[in-house]
């Protein structure tokens, strides 16, 4: 009886109702529109971190480059960088609250850690590049721009799922149990 109780405390709690979690996310987005006047964003903050790393390694090359050069000598001085830090903090709070924080590599049981991390790294590279090209990611372009009914954001959203479903079959093995 006693051990069962301990187990139930340490077990991760079930996820929230996805529709209500979506409404909460929508209200956060609305708050961002009203206070900042811009939508949510994640890839922009990460790209700024990339620019900052690039500055550390090759300062004059970065400042002279056409894209990062626009961001000047202090690329981290940008609201999306702060939003990204907030995202980490808010998610950490929620994960600890629901007992869902676990150090692990999430993958199918039939997949090696190396394969899963290889996919994650390659996927990350492509996503990082694509978000700069499309001027935003799922948060900044698809969700924020979609809620504003912008044509380009809707096109991005449709193409995102088209690309995803077209590739899904080829990379399915990482989730095989």
């Amino acid at each position: 009886m006693k051990t069962k109780k301990v187990e139930s405390i340490s077990a991760p709690k079930p996820y929230a109702n996805p529709y209500l979690a979506g409404v909460l996310l929508g209200l956060v987005l609305l708050a961002s529109f009203l206070s900042l006047g811009v939508g949510l964003g994640a890839s922009g903050g990460i790209a700024r971190i990339g620019a900052s790393l690039s500055l550390c390694v090759a300062a004059s090359h970065t400042l002279g480059s056409e894209y990062f050069g626009e961001w000047g000598t202090r690329p981290l001085n940008y609201y999306l960088v702060f939003m990204f830090v907030g995202t980490l903090l808010g998610a950490l709070f929620s994960a600890l609250l629901a007992n869902r924080a676990r150090i692990q590599v999430e993958r199918g049981a039939g997949t090696s850690i190396g394969r899963r991390l290889g996919y994650a790294l390659t996927g990350g590279l492509i996503v990082g590049f694509a978000s700069r090209l499309a001027r935003g990611c799922t948060s900044g372009q698809a969700l924020s721009g979609g809620a504003l009914l912008l044509t380009g954001s809707m096109v991005f959203l449709v193409c995102l799922f088209a690309g995803g479903y077209a590739t899904a079959w080829f990379v399915r093995r990482q989730w095989h149990d």
């Binding site: 808010g90 999430e106 799922t138 809620a147 380009g152 399915r172």
Partner: protein
């Protein structure tokens, strides 16, 4: 009435950073609550095993869309006060497809990966390292793919206008699509995994009904856009008013500036006057109005953002079509200070720079003197001319720190730091530009380290944002090598 920081041009203030941090906390919390700290759950959408991505994404999108539309209908905020991203089909189609490929491979997207890292997922951390690398890669290959990044920039396009619907009508259709997607997602999950939490549940029925009711409610609030009376041009009352103001200013030619007036104001060195050449760089380097900035049309809004409603912006090209279109686009984005040069560069040449001897119309002696003064000012390459030399006569050659402190931030006063890049990076005078003196020298006619020809120097200085009318303060380190510049 709410004024978001973007509309106040205050996104780079500590207040904005603090608010962004708070909003980020809410963002991360909502993502983790939804279960987006798990890559398995995210990947589920592509294998029809867990459709949470569709449910959360559509619920959030519809909530924010309807919420914002209600606030606009109540008059609390205007859509123009929010940053509206441009539509660039090529970049967004290619970017979208690539993003989808990367999304399904990594089973993360940038925001959810942050939630994943916070939940201890090592695959999320590796994914984010990849995203950082991908961003750096983009910067490195940017010169090659620049045309893909900017080609076909449509400016701000609204999807309902693109498909020819009214705003409220489109939102109702989108809400119905979302509700259908919710039910389909539940059905697919049941078919694939055998269990479903919400299919035919009272909750999902009530939730669907609430969203559709809210979408219908918008028709009541803004009857002007309902039914058959909806005009495609006027999607909302707000933009209709703006469009009307725009057309009125066009009708009264309030958006024009005559060549003679521009010439006079430029020669007077009017502060806050920004002349923008929207022609291709090659034509710009051939000839341009002295002091003009070269900006491609596609990047105009971004380039001019710092000057939005500050000072006076004058656009010109060879003719008037492109500047006029650019001006309308900029006005829709909230620029109220953009003017176009009547008859473009051609008009400027004919009316200001054409030599007196070639003119057919009779000129008074005063007019002739004026034309000669313009020619002396504009038709010679941009270098320090006698007029600005005279103006500088009253200024000290070597200045004291106090003198600079008192004048720092004055328009027209530019500070150039000549020290090496690392020294500049460590600390510099606020607003100072960094310049390597060696970049002004080059190999000319086989002789190394000669000062570049005036035209190239002028191009360098205009890249720095220096105008002939500016006063320049040079800051050097231990060594004095500014004689080249002075």
């Amino acid at each position: 009435m709410i004024n978001p920081l973007y509309s106040l041009n205050a996104l780079d203030t500590p207040l904005a950073f603090f608010l962004a941090l708070l909003i980020g906390c809410g963002f991360g919390f909502a993502l983790e609550r939804a279960g987006f700290g798990s890559s398995r759950r995210l990947a589920g959408v592509f294998y029809f095993t867990d459709m949470a991505v569709v449910k959360v994404m559509f619920s959030a999108l519809i909530t924010a869309m309807l919420g914002l539309s209600f606030l606009v209908a109540f008059g609390w905020i205007q859509l123009e006060q929010i940053y509206l991203m441009p539509t660039i089909y090529a970049a967004q189609i290619v970017g979208g497809v690539l993003f989808g490929v990367g999304f399904v491979m990594g089973s993360w997207c940038p925001g959810t990966a942050a939630a994943g890292v916070a939940s201890g997922r090592i695959d999320a951390l590796v994914f984010l390292i990849g995203v950082t690398g991908g961003s750096i890669l983009f910067n490195e290959v940017f010169p090659v793919i620049r045309s893909l990044y900017t080609t076909g920039n449509q400016g701000v396009q609204m999807i309902y206008a693109t498909v020819g619907m009214s705003r409220n009508g489109f939102m109702l259709v989108l809400t119905l699509v979302a509700v259908a997607a919710f039910w389909l997602s539940e059905w697919v999950e049941k078919a694939r995994t055998g269990h479903t939490a919400y299919l035919r549940s009272p909750f999902l029925k009530a939730f669907s009904l609430a969203l559709v009711t809210l979408a219908l409610g918008l028709f009541m609030l803004s009857p002007a856009t309902t039914g058959a009376s909806a005009e495609p041009v006027e999607s909302t009352a707000v933009t209709a008013v703006d469009e009307q103001a725009l057309m009125e200013s066009v009708e009264q030619a309030l958006d024009h500036i005559e060549p003679e007036e521009l010439a006079a104001r430029l020669m007077a060195g009017e502060p806050g006057l920004l002349v923008v050449d929207v022609r291709p760089a090659a034509e710009f380097s051939g000839f341009h109005i002295r002091g003009a900035l070269n900006a491609p049309l596609a990047e105009l809004a971004e380039t001019l953002q710092p000057y939005r409603n500050r000072g006076l912006i004058v656009l010109y090209s060879n003719g008037m079509t492109h500047p006029a279109q650019a001006r309308d686009s900029l006005q829709r984005r909230g620029f109220g200070n953009v003017y176009i040069l009547t008859d473009g560069l051609q008009g400027f040449r004919d009316r200001c720079l054409k030599p007196v001897s070639l003119r057919t119309e009779p000129l008074t002696a005063g007019d002739a003197a004026r034309v000669n003064a313009w020619r002396a000012f504009f038709a010679t390459p941009a270098k320090v001319g006698p007029s600005s030399e005279a103006a500088n006569e009253a200024m000290p050659r070597v200045i004291e720190t106090d003198w600079l402190i008192a004048r720092l931030g004055t328009p027209g006063l530019k500070v150039i730091d000549l020290r090496s890049q690392p020294e500049y990076n460590t600390a510099h005078i606020p607003g100072a530009l960094s310049l390597n003196v060696e970049s002004l020298r080059g190999n000319i006619g086989g002789v190394p380290s000669l000062l570049l020809p005036p035209a190239m120097l002028a191009a360098q200085f205009s890249l720095l944002g220096l105008q002939p009318s500016d006063s320049v303060v040079l800051v050097s380190g231990e060594k004095f090598h500014d004689a080249t510049l002075a």
